[in-house]
């Protein structure tokens, strides 16, 4: 493992920082300081890539790059998150149980986690399971990832296993066909699917007809899918990690290309601070999602 090197494209892939940003940081802040290969192209040593990944994580947690880059490495690893301060409010109840579940993931005990979750599902029923177990657990994992107490691969394992549980639960429900036809998906660059699965579970419980298209649909394809499926509602999910600044523009762009008769709903952690947008319904939580559904039914009978 003697100092493997990454070119700028590989660093972009691995860190999520665009080439433009990597070059700009080098120009402005003097970091990173890649070597040059025989063609004069940047060649990033692995430790610098690690540091960039750490910086990116702290940025996603609300820190600013200028400060971070000036901070020495040791200090970086101990920095706390800035954004999610008011998070731990209604988590007094059941906190210990959630911690136990997370501990299973941290011990790399995927099987144990799955079994414990299935028990909870059986005990709580799907709706409560989604709202009281999956949702807070997901948020907790996000926070833990931000403050560094969760490794990336632990988060991946959690995500993969949780997706399985949800999908399994959903497919055990008979496909509803009373309610609106709801097309569930996300925009390109938004790959978090757990939010979509949670809301699908709730909608399916209510008997709505869900069309799960997975994540990362190009906007124009969402519009075509909505036409082809005669969807009554297009529901998009934005995670907290999604670049907030892009959301309003994306939604309005999609609203423009979407059939007029299809409603556009947006939910997830990313849209909570969003203002009102014309022709778009912002879902601020699970209750809001369910009441949107019942409202739709009231207006379409």
């Amino acid at each position: 493992m003697n100092t493997p090197c990454f070119n700028i494209g590989a660093v972009e892939r691995d860190t999520g920082l665009s080439k433009d940003v990597l070059r700009m940081w080098e120009r402005r802040y003097g970091f990173p300081t890649p070597d040059r290969d025989s063609n004069g192209e940047r060649s990033y040593p692995a430790p610098q890539v690690e540091r960039l990944r750490l910086i990116k994580r702290l940025m996603d947690a609300g820190h600013r790059p200028g400060k971070l880059i000036a901070t020495p490495m040791e200090e970086l690893t101990t920095l706390a998150p800035r954004r999610s301060v008011q998070a731990t409010t209604n988590e007094t109840a059941g906190t210990d149980e959630l911690n136990e579940l997370l501990a299973l993931i941290k011990q790399n005990d995927g099987t144990g986690y799955q079994q414990a979750m299935l028990q909870r599902l059986a005990r709580q029923g799907l709706q409560r399971f989604v709202q009281d177990t999956i949702a807070p657990l997901t948020r907790r994992v996000g926070e833990a990832w931000e403050d560094g107490s969760f490794e990336v691969f632990e988060e991946h394992l959690f995500t993969e296993l949780t997706k399985r549980l949800l999908r399994q639960a959903i497919s055990s429900l008979a496909g509803g066909n009373q309610g609106p036809r709801v097309l569930l998906t996300s925009v390109p660059d938004e790959q978090h699917v757990i939010g979509l699965l949670m809301v699908e579970a709730l909608f399916a419980l209510e008997g709505a007809e869900c069309i799960p298209l997975g994540t990362q649909m190009p906007l124009l394809e969402i519009a075509r899918a909505a036409s082809a499926h005669k969807a009554d509602v297009v529901a998009l999910s934005f995670s907290v990690a999604f670049p907030q600044r892009q959301i309003p523009g994306l939604l309005q762009q999609l609203r423009q290309v979407l059939p007029a008769e299809a409603e556009l709903w947006a939910g997830g952690g990313g849209v909570q601070r969003l203002g009102k947008l014309d022709g778009i319904l912002v879902l601020t939580g699970f209750d809001s999602a369910i009441s949107a559904l019942t409202n739709w039914r009231k207006n379409h009978q």
Copy 2:
């Protein structure tokens, strides 16, 4: 829908063509021809974005951009795929049944598809189901997508439902613990997970201990995960859609940062034409994967 416009970043997201490529094509070929907004920045009309998406699809199917861009739009829509010529060989048997399954997707009948697949699973058993149903079906969908007879959203629906089936089948297996500990994942930019799920199903059937980390793990994180989980094998999947040229470099880079005691296996449609690589085992198919597993056991008892 009066000519909505996309900036270059949105086009990159929606088409998968990098900003560099978009600018270069404009310089070289005179297409696309975006307008400019008040800041002098490119503004792509929706029809051009559609055309770019079509071109990208045909490129993934083996065509060359120079030709495609010179081709008029009407002709583009009728172009056949170039790459997958020898595909339809051993598909004589059961072709009609597979066509029926695909027809369900095309009719947007997700529920019917799921039921039909569950029946097949029960009839064939998991191993045959993976090899004789899921695998050819997935290949067929890929081909159909390439030659334009499948819409993107139909492919998404198929993918989402098939993932559910596989995950459900896998989680019904008791977690094995005899065989090697196999860490299953993919590199960043490789988001196709069905191949991973198929091989996980086979390995789990053989009693191996699978650690599914989902897709898109940064290389350095794969290495950390392998250490933390004490993985005996890291198995990566590359779909046919993954840029072939990047694969050898990626694998060697990963091999460098991976613990020496962990084996590195690479499978999927993307690695079939790959030459031999030092310290990396290329899996050319399901049989090859299973024999790799038994070989490993032979060498580690």
